[in-house]
Every structure is written in C-alpha cells, then in structure tokens.
C-alpha cells in the first residue's frame, strides 16, 4: 500500500514535469465456448450450429473461440504474438479444427514443452514411435504472423470433444 502510494506520487510528479511514459500494447484476450449442436438438414446432410454450452454431456463437441484485441497504443511486433491453449482436461482435440487467420498452428504432445505442425508430431506407443493422433495433442499454439497494431483485433478457435 505504501509502495503503491509512493509509485502514484512518482507517476504524478513525472506527469507534471511532462515526462511521457512509453506507449504499451494492452492486449485483451477473451475465451468463449459454445456447443456444436448437430442439425439434420432437409436435404439429408448433417450440419452443426453453435448454441450456448449450458447442457453438455460426454460425446458433445464444443468450440472454443479466443478473441484478442490490442487496446493499447503500441503495436505488438510481427511474429511475436503467440497464443497457447491447453486442450482442456476431459476433452480431446478434433482433427483439423484449429483455425486462426494469419497464423501458423502448431501442436504439442508433451504438455507444451515442444510444438510442431500436426504432420510432424509423433508419440511412443507400446515402445514404438508412431504418428501422433489428434487425441494425443495436449496444447495448441497459434503464431500470429503480422504485427498487432493498436485497435486491431482477431480470433482463433478450435473444437474439442468431451470424453
């Protein structure tokens, strides 16, 4: 408390003498989740629609959407913006469902220690190294290529199935 007041005083003092603090990139990250309800169309195909995830049971598919916006005054550097999201407990990742405009998407099968594109991942099963399955993924990573300018916003998403 004392330190905070002291900091405030210093900040006020600096402001009074016209010192300008360096502009910051103030990024807000928001996660939302919706259930993917299967809907049969009149033409016989089965599509999905997103509904509030209030009523989920094992076997349901859900979509996680992570939106981000730069509310600050400085841009985040191109290539430096990285979003990570563990595949939630009791779910598994649905193949090819990760999306992110302008991002390269990588996955981890070791809890986020290392990341690789989907086709380069392998796991050891029964002592044999085999290509990783989507259910093996523990973490998803999106690397956003462009800079995130002030006021810029975007989103990434992935689907998971409840076990």
């Amino acid at each position: 408390m004392t330190a905070a007041i002291r900091t405030l005083k210093i900040a006020t003092l600096l402001a009074c003498v016209g010192w300008i603090a360096p502009a910051l990139a103030d990024v807000k990250l928001t996660t939302s989740v919706q259930k993917m309800e299967r809907v049969a169309s009149p033409d016989g195909t089965v599509g999905t629609r997103l509904v509030p995830a209030e009523n989920v049971i094992p076997g349901d598919d859900v979509r996680y959407t992570i939106t981000f916006v730069n509310e600050g005054k400085a841009a985040a550097d191109a290539g430096s913006v990285v979003i990570t999201n563990p595949v939630p407990e009791n779910t598994h990742y649905i193949a090819d469902s990760a999306f992110g405009s302008g991002t390269s998407i990588q996955f981890s099968v070791d809890g986020g220690k290392t990341f690789h594109p989907a086709n380069e991942l392998s796991v050891v099963r029964d002592g044999v190294k085999v290509p990783a399955q989507p259910a093996d993924y523990t973490t998803i990573r999106w690397v956003f290529a462009p800079a995130l300018a002030p006021a810029a916003q975007s989103y990434v998403s992935f689907n998971a199935r409840l076990e």
Binding site: T31, P58, P86, D110, G111
Partner: protein, 424 residues
C-alpha cells in the same frame, strides 16, 4: 491483493494434476512468497496452464495406468515424484467442470511483454442417464413343462456417467411367443456365486423401489429372473420374459418406468437439477441418453425359456440268430446278434444319456462283441466297465448288463449299439 487460496482448493476438478497444481500453489504459498509478482500468485487456470507447460504431462481418460515422473523447476528448485492411478472410465463423470484458459505472449519493440491470460470458461458436465441390459443366456433356457423357479440371466450396466439407482422391471406377458412364464421374480446377484441361489446365503430378492441396485458409472450387476413354467406345454414351446432397467431419476421425473407410456422420455430429454447429487453439488442437469431410443431400447432385453425339446427313441432288434447246427433256431448255444438304435429328435440336446440293456439270465454276453457307432469321446467300446471315471461303457458283469454312456446328444443324433450274446 492477498493470494487467494480458495481457488486452488476448488473441489470441482478432481484430477491428480489439479491436486498437483494445488500442491504447487500451496508450496509457493508455504515458501512465504507474496502475491506481488506474476510467478507466485497465479489464477488457478493460469497456474494449471503453466504447470502443464512446465511439467509436460497430461492424463488422458481411458488410458492405461502410467508412471508419471514430474520434475518441476521453480524458484525453490523442487523435485516431485508422483504416481498416477487412473481409472478406465468411458465418459467424463457427471458434475465434472472443464476449464479452459488461453494465454498470449508478445513483444513490443523487441521487448517481451508480460503474458496475458484470458478469462476462464467452464463447462459443467451433466449426468447422462443410460443403461444397457443384455441377456446372458446363450440360448433359450431349457425347462420342463411345470417347472418352478426356472431362471434367466441378465446383465445391467450403467453406461451413463453418474451414480444411479436402477428400477428393475420384468415383463413376462410378451406377445409373439408360445406361453407366458408365471410369477416372475427378480433377484440381484449378491452372494458372489454365479447363478441364482435361493434361501439363506443366496441371492437377494429384489423389491422395486426398496433395494434398487445403485450402479456407479460403467459398472454392472448380474440380475436373474425366476419364473414358473405352465403345465401341459408342447415340446419346443417358447416363452419369453424381458427385463428392463430404468434409472430412478427417469421414474421420478417422468412419473413412469414404462416405455409404452407416452410420458416415457426420449433421448435428449433434460431434467434440470435432477442429476447425480453425489457430484456437481446437486445442481447437475440429467439428460436421457441414447439407450432410451425407442427403435433400439437398449435398457431392455428379452430372455427365453424353451420346453425341453429332446425326445429320445430306443429301438432294439435281433439282426441274426445262428444255432450250433447252422440254422436259426433259438436253442442253447445259439448266437444272437442284437442292435439298439438310439435317436434324439427335437431342437435341444438330451443330456447325460446312458443306455442300459440288462440281459436275461439265459443269455451270456460274448466278450469283445460290443460296438458303438459313433463312439462318444472318452468312451471305449471294450468290455471293461467302470462305474466311475471317463469310460463308463462296457459290460457290467455282476449285473449281466450292457451299459453304453452317450452323454449329451443334440437333436438329430443317431447312435447304433450292437453286441452278441449266446443262449445258455
């Protein structure tokens, strides 16, 4: 803001890893670290996320048990060793909470900025009400007309994801069969001996609503239906009885346990707040599962009785007589060839079949003359006769009797027995 410990002790998540996260948080708190820095006081899911990335492990449902070595580096250079025991559950348990949080890292002008965490979204897993009943009899149970207490075997499995009491209902008045078993009663396997045992130390009679078996998810109970068989039934008559298992929640919410009642629920029917109270704090939605689909209705299964349809026929003939003078007169010294035809008609097996032919005192069995075609496995058509053991076919000298043990013969079987005797 002081470090809030309540979030790390949140009971909703019950995995080893969450416990581990709680350990981590408590250790950090125990080390006296204050809440000012990003490291020491993390929101629970952020902690969860960091723990993941740091220790690099993940527990998958349905996986085999595995040893997990956790080496964690923190400011206090901790090393923890954790053993995992994991159940092979088919579905996430009712009441489980699934959290997810995203993180972002980025640089500004080449300088790494503090990691940004998103809000945490939670999914509450509802209870699925599902049951699968399967007949455990490989074929209709063979019964005699007039039999009492003949029993059928079933398994009842809770394929939902909560702990649930099940109402068991038997229906013996099924159309499309030949007779209705009478006085059906239900027993639940309780004494550990497979099959139905009655009386003291036997299996417990089931009383609906009173001792409904409570099954945790993915567990099964063996259930028996005992019934009486009417008298005067024809050979081969078939009588069915069905057993259904209805989660008590369905009965309470829908007011019926009868699938033919219009109020009986269809898959997807949701009962807010009716979920397994043992999990999720009593505020879990219960959802009727796919085993209630009327087209397949897997909560119910049929068993069947069939009146014993094995009819045994015996036919004994004399195939030739040769007297000492070369004729065919039945005089002392004449040699008589006998043949016995054994037949089994019907669709069931005749079990434990033994043919005995006591010879009159005036006849003497001719050694080594017995022949059996086809000879059942384990039998020898020689003269030695042992009343016990595997070879119970031969000549029982003291009783002057030919004995042929045929065992189980399925419908359509035919066996020819032949031997020779002489007239004394």
């Amino acid at each position: 803001m002081p470090c809030d410990r309540s979030h790390v002790n949140k009971p909703a998540k019950r995995t080893l890893l969450t416990d581990f996260a709680a350990v981590l948080a408590n250790v950090l708190i125990g080390l006296g670290m204050d809440s000012q820095s990003d490291m020491e006081c993390l929101a629970p899911n952020r902690l969860d996320s960091r723990r993941r990335s740091r220790v690099g492990l993940r527990q998958r449902a349905g996986g085999s048990c595995q040893r997990i070595d956790v080496v964690m580096r923190s400011t206090a250079a901790l090393t923890l060793l954790v053993w995992s025991t994991c159940a092979a559950a088919l579905g996430t348990g009712a009441g489980a909470r699934i959290d997810s949080t995203a993180h972002m890292t980025f640089d500004v002008a080449g300088i790494a900025q503090p990691t940004v965490a998103s809000n945490t979204v939670a999914l509450d897993v509802n209870e699925v009400l599902d049951a699968v009943v399967v007949s455990q009899d490989a074929a209709p149970v063979s019964v005699a007309s007039g039999a009492t207490g003949a029993w059928l075997s079933f398994s009842v499995t809770n394929t939902g994801n909560g702990s649930e009491p099940f109402r068991l209902v038997v229906d013996a008045a099924i159309t499309g069969d030949d007779f209705d078993p009478t006085s059906p009663a239900i027993y639940v396997e309780t004494n550990g001996t497979p099959g139905l045992q009655l009386g003291a130390g036997g299996d417990t009679p089931y009383v609906i609503g009173s001792n409904d078996p409570v099954l945790v998810r993915d567990s099964s109970a063996s259930v028996y239906v005992a019934a009486n068989i009417p008298v005067g039934l024809a050979q081969g008559a078939l009588g069915r009885a069905s057993l259904r298992a209805v989660p008590r929640t369905v009965f309470v919410e829908a007011g019926t346990d009868d699938p033919s009642n219009a109020a009986f629920p269809v898959p997807g029917t949701a009962y807010p707040g009716a979920g397994d109270p043992a999990s999720g704090g009593g505020n879990v939605i219960a959802v009727v599962g796919s085993t209630f689909a009327s087209s397949t209705l897997r909560i119910r299964a049929d068993g069947a009785y069939r009146v014993n349809a094995a009819v045994v026929t015996l036919s004994k003939t004399v195939t030739s007589v040769t007297d000492p003078a070369g004729g065919a007169r039945l005089i002392p010294g004449a040699v008589v060839h006998y043949r016995i035809d054994v037949g089994v008609a019907g669709s069931d097996a005749a079990q434990g079949l033994v043919v005995r032919d006591p010879l009159p005192a005036d006849l003497a069995y001719v050694a080594s003359s017995l022949a059996v075609t086809p000879l059942p496995a384990g039998q020898q058509a020689d003269d030695d006769f042992a009343p016990v053991g595997s070879d119970n076919t031969g000549f029982d000298g003291p009783n002057n009797t030919v004995v042929v043990t045929l065992g189980d013969l399925v419908g359509g079987s035919a066996v020819v027995v032949s031997f020779i005797a002489t007239i004394k």
